[in-house]
Symmetry: C2
Amino acid sequence: MTVSPEDVTSKLPSSPAADSRSRVSQFMRQIQDEICAGLEKLDGQSNFIEDSWKRPEGGGGRSRVIRDGGVFEQGGVNFSEVWGQQLPPSILKQRPEAAGHGFYATGTSMVLHPRNPYVPTVHLNYRYFEAGPVWWFGGGADLTPYYPFAEDAKHFHQTYKDICDRHHREYYPVFKQWCDEYFYLKHRQETRGIGGLFFDYQDGQGPLYKGPNSESPAALYSQKLPEIAPRSWEDLFSFINDCGQGFLPAYGPIVEQRHNTEYGDRERNFQLYRRGRYVEFNLVYDRGTIFGLQTNGRTESILMSLPPLVRWEYGYEPPADTPEAELYSTFLQPQDWVNWPTS
Amino acid sequence: MTVSPEDVTSKLPSSPAADSRSRVSQFMRQIQDEICAGLEKLDGQSNFIEDSWKRPEGGGGRSRVIRDGGVFEQGGVNFSEVWGQQLPPSILKQRPEAAGHGFYATGTSMVLHPRNPYVPTVHLNYRYFEAGPVWWFGGGADLTPYYPFAEDAKHFHQTYKDICDRHHREYYPVFKQWCDEYFYLKHRQETRGIGGLFFDYQDGQGPLYKGPNSESPAALYSQKLPEIAPRSWEDLFSFINDCGQGFLPAYGPIVEQRHNTEYGDRERNFQLYRRGRYVEFNLVYDRGTIFGLQTNGRTESILMSLPPLVRWEYGYEPPADTPEAELYSTFLQPQDWVNWPTS
């Protein structure tokens, strides 16, 4: 069974463009290209290597990996475009209207693990779905520093807030908090990092946020969210475009600022230890990862997000009055970074 | 609410001893002591350090860690004894008779990560539950080599088969296959290692095996299992005792045989890479780990099973005609190790 855009569009809450699929997948390829080019320039030494792959059930992708670079110890940027007869149960639970319909999904996702512990790890993902009467966009970008620099957190958040504010004044506060809530390690009582933006199920209908995603203490779902006027498919696609374009301005200056900072075994060991939290989050909580592994996804592409080298240590606690302790006390809890006082 | 042994015993399928809880928890402490003493002797350099802890909701434990030893890069042996008002939903699904009753649980678990890549990683766990009208034993031990030595696999399996055979001729074939099935990484299409024994819900009533636990290719659950005559609480406790005593004879000789084998970067890198599978299994599939993390267990004790240093590498495949390739082709698939021909 295949679903043509024509079958779908007449029933959508707000119709997508007739060529919605090709426009979005073209965009997803384009941000993969632009981001890879920008990262190679930042790295200065290494280049991405590409694997193209086909999915037997329909679709495929291109996985790109950079390794042993001047900045990036390991990183991956994936593009994929897949289709099939039925969305998996985990998504249908959130989108029951899609049951019994074919689906189309395309997206780009990225995780970068820099070698220098002063350069934060970063994650980005944008995705788009169509299935029967529904379509939606999801995604975001979030930063995971190992050492605490408030000005980096502020710059990252301010860049995305500026983008959000050009589209809707409610986007930043809601998507920022959603990110704090989603990237939360309950068993550690820590956020994964300093957050950024995260959103899902954006179909142009209000409210922006449609229920809890984790058991984090961020009380987004108990808030009374403002009613949002419906937004068109074009409005949302334009927002996603700007978010995608925002990545290099959000992350690049932080890399340039930090990647020549000298470090020793102490900082490297702390980085390797903290990378363990990235593994714990991705394997225990991340819906995309777990879903992919359990449904015959391309394992190597899914697990490209895992760090190249990781350490676990029983009972580690950061010594008092150190940068490591400041990371825990301040940077692994949700903060209002755009209004953070910096000297 | 508390449940006294008296409330429970009259309704059990086969009554446990009146002092069942103290006898089992005493045994669990004793194997922790004996195994730690045996491992320190094998290690020759380092000793276990103990953390005692209390659980606010009832009970506690003692976590013991060995680090930077002559043999063991990192390892932990945990004892715990906990009680509470209600078992978690994941267990109640398997044991609905326990719903609405208080529970008691005690167990010992262990994971050892040797430094030398020729020495296998090993895991052991024994546990005992009482809840309302039901009680059961579970546990087992399994071996995860990095380099392929059929005689090691054969020795490990033969030791446990001999113990099983002293108790019931159906134990070894069923518990060996259950282990292959449980410690299976579906997304890698690999077993975690060469297996050993695994069993759960042993309450003295047949059949030995009560349904699928994973989606491994081991077709245990489609077999017609023999009907087993009921076994008493004492029968099962005696079996668990012998299994616990069997660990040092099963693992010790392998350590002694391998830990002086010379190795270089190639073997070390392969070991670190393969340790990633241990992390993937424990965080994605292991019911005990996931349950513990999601229900406010003691995180540091639960994650003591994770290796001290781990590597991930995109797209790794072992070169043809190498020991690494033999590990994949033969040792990461279920095999009849006790009947394996060795020279």
